[in-house]
């Protein structure tokens, strides 16, 4: 008897989520509610890069849009933590699309989650404006230009910018510290191509395991290579540990460190004394002009940290989407996508940004150099902008596209 009851109990536990969703379906939203979802990592390794900050950015975007455009439709925001699990992420998004009437999902950092969500989004014919993932596959092998826009950055842009610009400054011999998995390898390859195209030379590279606890050994190898530039083809904790060790071993005196995926969050975590002189590509910097400063300070007042490029990108993505809905008076996927594609993006994140036919949002990137502690005038004043890389040079050219949908045309 008991077992049967227990089973019933366990099955009803299964059903709980469904009960809610049936209700939601009964009151299915009409065209005058636009529902936006932020799917991000709130509890894992990327939670500082996106996380709660992305949700805040989306909230701010909706608030600002309501204030300026006075839309007739209602706007709702939902958010979830995918815990860096592709199955949790794709399940959540599927549930959002099917039962909660979500029209657009954004942020979606973590490449595995992003690719899985892209598939669901295509299947359900909704929209993903991806601000968080790095993989170029989103606009190449796994592109879905009718549904997916890759909004902020990708490994190609991160690698290409410094590969060209730094080399042209005369720092033309490189050595790589590469995280030993697909992400690191593609960063190294794209940078190598850019370095060679600009007349530079790659002297060598060493592969290190993901989450290595100690980098001194690899850095000694980089030091022995006598390369002018040491490229870090890694991310997160690995980058931070590489930089700390590079500083300790005095590499920074004679060699320039280029972090291929470094953000303001990493610089803040390390402090200027350790990072001064480093160079890398960013998609956004809060201290660019009055417009970015105003917005970022507003963001800071709520988040206690300056925005990363993901945060600013999420803000921009939500704004762009809402503007398109406003302009067309529709939340139909094809209509909105067409409108977004046709309208240049001008806001605190991008100037003259354009969504390309492979789904790549093309905008300017910035090659930055980290200031010396003495040059920094206020907290978070970290970068010299060495060069603005125009969008059409920053991202992978269409000629190299491996996107089947584009190739067919």
């Amino acid at each position: 008897m008991m077992k049967r009851k227990l089973l019933a109990l366990s099955i009803s536990a299964l059903l709980l989520p469904a009960a809610g969703s049936v209700l939601a379906q009964a009151g299915k939203i009409s065209g005058d509610v636009v529902k936006i979802a932020v799917l991000t990592d709130m509890s894992g390794v990327y939670s500082d890069l996106g996380g709660k900050g992305s949700v805040l950015a989306a909230e701010m975007a909706i608030e600002d849009f309501k204030a300026s455009a006075k839309p007739k439709f209602k706007i709702e925001l939902v958010s979830a933590d995918h815990q860096n699990k592709a199955d949790v992420g794709s399940n959540k998004v599927r549930e959002w699309y099917d039962t909660q009437g979500v029209d657009m999902v954004t942020d979606v950092l973590n490449s595995a989650v992003a690719l899985a969500v892209a598939k669901v989004t295509t299947e359900k014919n909704k929209i993903m404006l991806n601000a968080g993932a790095a993989s170029t596959r989103l606009t190449n092998e796994d592109c879905a230009p009718n549904n997916v826009v890759h909004y902020v950055y990708d490994t190609y842009a991160l690698a290409n910018g410094p590969g060209k610009a730094v080399t042209k400054q005369g720092k033309d011999t490189w050595f790589f510290l590469t995280a030993d998995y697909a992400f690191g390898a593609s960063l190294e390859k794209d940078t190598t191509d850019a370095v060679k195209a600009s007349g530079g030379k790659v002297l060598g590279s060493v592969k290190h395991p993901l989450n290595a606890s100690d980098f001194s050994s690899f850095l000694l190898q980089a030091q022995a290579s006598k390369a002018k530039v040491v490229g870090l083809a890694n991310a997160g904790g690995d980058t931070i540990n590489s930089i700390k060790a590079a500083n300790e071993f005095g590499l920074t005196k004679n060699q320039t460190i280029v972090g291929l995926l470094t953000t303001i969050i990493d610089i803040h975590a390390l402090g200027l004394p350790t990072t001064q002189g480093m160079m890398f590509t960013e998609g956004y910097y809060w201290n660019l002009n009055n417009e970015t400063r105003d917005w970022s300070r507003k963001f800071f007042s709520k988040h206690k940290k300056m925005p990363s490029m993901l945060h600013a990108g999420t803000y921009s993505a939500v704004t762009t989407y809402l503007k398109a809905v406003q302009a067309t008076g529709s939340d139909d996927t094809a209509t909105v996508m067409k409108q977004m594609r046709a309208t240049p993006i001008n806001d605190i994140f991008a100037k003259g940004g354009k969504i390309r036919e492979d789904g790549r949002m093309v905008h300017d990137m910035y090659l930055v150099e980290v200031k010396k502690p003495a040059e920094s005038k206020e907290p978070w004043d970290y970068y010299h902008i060495k060069q603005v890389i125009p969008g059409d040079q920053a991202f992978q050219p269409m000629a190299l596209s491996r996107c089947p949908a584009v190739a067919k045309k």
Partner: protein, 295 residues
């Protein structure tokens, strides 16, 4: 310049030194595990989280209370030790009569909680902590520039390991401890407060983890995840050494640090797994571990 397999011999010495530095961390951490295991018969899965806590306390001390590195070196391990004592009193002590696996499961859950809480409070990107002024710069050893701080890590770790060995093997307190490990009931009958010894042992063992955390703070990323990546390697170190002897775990820790360092030069792709491979080989040849006794 002499070369071995295309690597200059000077560079090789440099890598040996670095291996020794990493080995010191392994040694202190596996020593803590061994001490706890000897007395409580549990594997402390929270060891990595408490190591992280040591580093975080160091940073918190500087950031909010203005406590410098040297005081942290003393205070942070004590703080971690007190947390350990609380864990032992509140939770672990109820599990001694059960299968030892429950201790592993409990500490695993604790590790998740501690990491999650720190992540929630301070984020994951990590915190800046610079090397204490006394250790800025490097020694010129002829074959390499050894940063002074790394040298200090080796010295401090070895000193702590040696002191631990001395206390346990050569003092009266240590004799009680060994007696309590061997036969708790009989020791209790002699009027020695065994539960107190157990509590202090656990506190001391995790205090060692905290100490390693302070040592790591200036050299690596201080973040909530710093412990969990390391602890699995340390487990493998412990399996290789066998947990029977104090000296054994120290020697194994140092040795594996050096072997790992060499792998980083000759076959960097395998440096993450070399310790596990050695473990597999040791299991095939000598299941009880290099210094262990088959029970």
């Amino acid at each position: 310049m002499t070369e071995i397999f295309g690597v200059p011999i000077q560079a090789l010495f440099g890598q040996l030194m670095l291996g020794l530095v990493n080995g010191s961390f392994y040694a202190v951490l596996s020593l803590g595990l061994a001490v706890i295991f000897g007395m409580l018969n549990i594997i402390n899965f929270a060891h990595g989280a408490l190591y992280m806590m040591g580093a975080m306390l160091t940073w918190i001390g500087l950031e909010y209370l203005g406590i410098g590195y040297w005081w942290s070196l003393l205070l942070a391990p004590i703080g971690v030790g007190l947390v350990g004592i609380a864990i032992e009193r509140l939770m672990l002590q109820w599990l001694y009569k059960l299968d030892h696996l429950y201790g592993l499961l409990l500490t695993f859950g604790l590790a998740l909680m501690i990491e999650g809480l720190f992540r929630d409070l301070y984020g994951v990107a990590g915190q800046p902590y610079s090397i204490p002024e006394e250790f800025a710069g490097a020694f010129n050893l002829g074959f390499m520039f050894l940063p002074k701080y790394r040298a200090w890590v080796v010295v401090a770790s070895l000193a702590v390991c040696l002191a631990t060995w001395f206390v346990i093997e050569k003092t009266r307190l240590g004799a009680y401890l060994r007696a309590a490990t061997e036969n708790p009931k009989l020791t209790q009958a002699f009027g020695i407060n065994v539960p107190l010894m157990v509590m202090l042992t656990y506190g001391f063992g995790v205090g060692l983890a905290g100490f390693a955390g302070v040592l790591a703070a200036p050299a690596t990323q201080i973040g909530p995840l710093m412990g969990s990546n390391l602890i699995i390697v340390v487990f493998a170190v412990v399996v290789i050494g066998g947990m029977g002897s104090i000296l054994g775990s120290v020697v194994t820790g140092l040795g594996l640090g050096i072997i790992e360092g060499m792998t980083k030069v000759f076959w960097p792709e395998a440096s993450a797994t070399v310790v596990f491979m050695i473990m597999a080989v040791v299991l095939m040849i000598r299941p009880a571990g290099l210094f262990g006794r088959e029970k």
